[in-house]
């Protein structure tokens, strides 16, 4: 398992070299979007309207941060559970999104999209929202302000700690539960 420092936007060879289990420190600009924002993005795509950020090479972070207290760029900002974005992710990968950041399992359709479009799925530590916010140096709402915590934010991150959960070659880091050992089978 290798360790890499990467910068956004991610290029084809950035994601191609990554394997499940690799540690990545990500620096640059990433975009937040969760359930409601994804639905809005799909609506824009359906209408043929431009998106609020460039999808090509982008990294989308599934997060709804807590409000920024005075003197800080953002509140706690850890990942939300990713499967809720599974219906939207393949379309975004097809349009050039290179990675998503969340926690938890992805669908087979998403894993296939990662392979088809040379993208990866990163995990960040769920429930470590205070710790992860230390790596975010700036935050600015760029779309759907009315969605509150679900608005799309442009985040500047420095050495944001990520783990490759699903790579673009079909590899996966999550272990399968041992049902037999737990007495199920």
């Amino acid at each position: 398992m290798a360790e890499y420092s990467l910068r956004t936007p991610l290029a084809e060879n950035d994601t191609a070299m990554l394997r499940a289990g690799d540690v990545v420190r990500l620096t640059g600009t990433i975009y937040t979007a969760r359930d409601a924002a994804h639905k809005r993005l799909m609506d824009l795509l359906d209408q043929g309207s431009p998106l609020p950020f460039e999808l090509k090479g982008s990294v989308i972070y599934y997060v709804g941060p807590s409000p920024a207290p005075p003197g800080r760029p953002i509140g706690a900002a850890g990942p939300t559970t990713s499967y809720r974005m599974d219906t939207y992710a393949p379309r975004l990968h097809a349009l050039g999104c290179k990675a998503s950041v969340g926690k938890g399992k992805r669908s087979d359709a998403v894993k296939q999209a990662l392979k088809d479009h040379g993208a990866v799925y990163f995990g960040a530590t769920g429930g470590a929202g205070a710790l992860l916010s230390k790596c975010i140096t700036a935050s600015r709402v760029i779309a759907f302000d009315e969605l509150g915590p679900e608005a799309i934010r442009e985040l500047s991150v420095v050495d944001f700690p990520l783990l490759v959960i699903n790579d673009s070659h079909g590899g996966e880091l999550y272990v399968q539960p041992d049902r037999a050992a737990a007495g199920l089978e």
Binding site: G104, K105, G123, A128, A130, R179
Partner: protein
């Protein structure tokens, strides 16, 4: 009849909302340390290291432990000889939530189920009331995150399925949830009652401390047996593999209909944030 000003309730509730979201309970911290000591996998150890650094940082900076500061869930025991002055008890609790979530820079996560429009102040709170003898007011608060709540289930087993059926359902639920609810989790199990009551039992069980022992020896044995089985799943911290899939199992039981065996599994993430106050 004792009279209590609603402003005391508002302030106490606001404080609990803020403190719970910043300060991880001591029993959870201690369990992290115990479980980390038993782990060998570097990934599992790294998760425990980050979670430890996270609670230390949250306490120091006042940032919430997790950005999901939860729906506000309350269990209230109100003495029969107590009267709240200025607001009714439900209003006072909601006012406290409003204040706490605003003043503490906590995320407002309550929304309309269909339009998904945010209510803007994290109300309405989910409040379970109990009327008890005396003139005291006991309020337990839990900040319940959505990720682990989504992995929770309720089912109606056949009485013939008994304990083996209960055990199988709980293990299968935790196995299927895998990395999604932020393991290592705490599993609240409600057995009996009715379709609506079993999940309340399960949720209330999550208010117990991790290091307490169920006073009912039968339930204590069931909790131990389930915890051991769940940790054999090998899901581990964050689903990265390891010996710690669950930090604890808490079971509550109540008599049920002769035709039924209601069962609820309420999953709590490792960020188990709850507090209790007596006024």
């Amino acid at each position: 009849m004792r009279t209590l000003s609603a402003t005391h309730v508002v302030d106490a509730v606001a404080k609990m909302c803020i403190d719970s979201n910043r300060i991880l309970p001591q029993d959870v911290r201690a369990r992290f340390a115990e479980c980390a000591a038993g782990e060998e996998s570097p990934a599992a150890l790294e998760v425990f290291r980050q979670l430890t650094e996270n609670y230390e940082l949250a306490e120091k900076t006042g940032l919430p432990l997790c950005q999901d500061t939860g729906l506000a869930v309350f269990f209230v025991e109100m003495g029969e000889e107590l009267r709240i002055e200025g607001m009714n008890i439900r209003q006072a609790i909601n006012e406290g939530v409003r204040k706490g979530y605003a003043d503490g820079f906590l995320r407002k996560s309550a929304c309309d189920p269909l339009t998904r429009a945010n209510t803007g102040d994290n109300t309405p709170a989910i409040v379970h009331f109990d009327i008890v003898p005396g003139d005291r007011l006991k309020i337990a608060f839990m900040a319940k995150g959505g990720g682990s709540e989504n992995m929770s289930r309720v089912t109606m087993l056949a009485p013939a399925q008994g304990w083996p059926g209960i055990k199988k359902f709980v293990i299968e639920r935790v196995a299927e949830a895998g990395p999604n609810p932020c393991p290592p989790t705490i599993v609240g199990v409600g057995v009996g009652g009715t379709f609506d009551y079993a999940p309340i039992l399960a949720k209330k069980a999550l208010l117990r401390k991790l290091d307490d022992v169920n006073p009912d020896p039968r339930l204590a044995a069931m909790e131990d047996e389930l915890l051991e089985a769940l940790n054999m799943l090998g899901i581990g911290p964050m689903g990265l593999g390891g010996k710690t899939t669950c930090l604890g199992v808490k079971i509550a039981m109540s008599p049920c209909h002769i035709a039924s065996l209601p069962l609820a599994v309420n999953i709590q993430c490792h960020s188990s944030r709850h507090q209790e106050v007596e006024l």
